[in-house]
Symmetry: C2
Amino acid sequence: MAVRKVYGTLNSPATLKVLACLFEHDLDFELVPVNLDAGEHKKKPFVSMNPFGQVPVYEDGGIKQFESRAIIRSMSFENGKKGEELIFWDARKQAVVANWIDVEAHQFEPAALKLINEMVIKPKNGLAPDQGAVAEAEAELGNVLDVYEARLVKSKHLGSERYTIADMLHLPNLQSLMGTTAKKLIESRPHVKAWCSQILARPAWGKVLEMKRKAQAS
Amino acid sequence: MAVRKVYGTLNSPATLKVLACLFEHDLDFELVPVNLDAGEHKKKPFVSMNPFGQVPVYEDGGIKQFESRAIIRSMSFENGKKGEELIFWDARKQAVVANWIDVEAHQFEPAALKLINEMVIKPKNGLAPDQGAVAEAEAELGNVLDVYEARLVKSKHLGSERYTIADMLHLPNLQSLMGTTAKKLIESRPHVKAWCSQILARPAWGKVLEMKRKAQAS
């Protein structure tokens, strides 16, 4: 019986990040679908869980959280087991991970979402990408990935040598970008390319993709 | 001898948040001024500390961090003392605080900065505010503060009954807004008004304002 519930959708990067974290920690959960096309996230009862009307909401033992990165940080601290954790218990080591968690939020994702909007979302809705916006977003994401390349020359993962939630938070948007011509931005940077291949191959991420495949097939 | 250094400026909300956190924890530090007007944050040596070229950078014992909220979370976990901490050691209680930390980042600050840009920054640079943009930003911030009002009816502070870093992160932008006509957005919501008055009166925040006064006088 899953006590944990994720209210969200498999089309939402923030929802997918939370699912990846649940699989990483081998936690049982139930995904409760929220129909964004029908605007369910802007109506009751959803807005009584997240008054900002955004997915996902995560419910665990009566506590509801709706900011995906907060959910992921909390889940990882609560469920990390010695030797398998995606965070560090050492404050100084975790400080570096924390920094790269917030880089994903404030540098990587804004640039990535602009590109994904032009190259994935618009075409899905029958609209042509705005080529000026694409060029601008590519330049912006390129600058972020230049910083990542320099970082990954010195460290196998963003926050430390080992995989942490700072890397994990990148998965949904990296996966989307790799399905577009923007993958050249990743593949032209050797350390970013190697990091990207490696983290996309995490078994927990494979389980998220498998959920998506099953949902699309049904 | 201050081992901790903050590279930043007293005009930067992110820098002020970090200073408030240092004062809350009674930690010695040195503020190393970065001249944004001269573009020092976009040049060496600054960009070797933060390749994204933004203030502040926080240096403590060889570890450099540049995302302000990451600095604050880490500092509070490393230095919180039983009974005086701005976080919770209990994972479930901290999960709620974590949620409101990220609400400040993704809901409150974006709306607040739009208004502050129009009503504080533009006039300082001799430009007139765009009244359409002001109206739009006021509506956006009003929606966020409606959520805060409902939250603060149930809880004295955002993340819990007591003051935590989730509240502290709001200080610089609340202080700026209270110096503009946008203070009506705060004062028209009784629980937001009471919360705002109370957190702006924190002695640690008073020390930050005192630093600003001294710098302006010298």
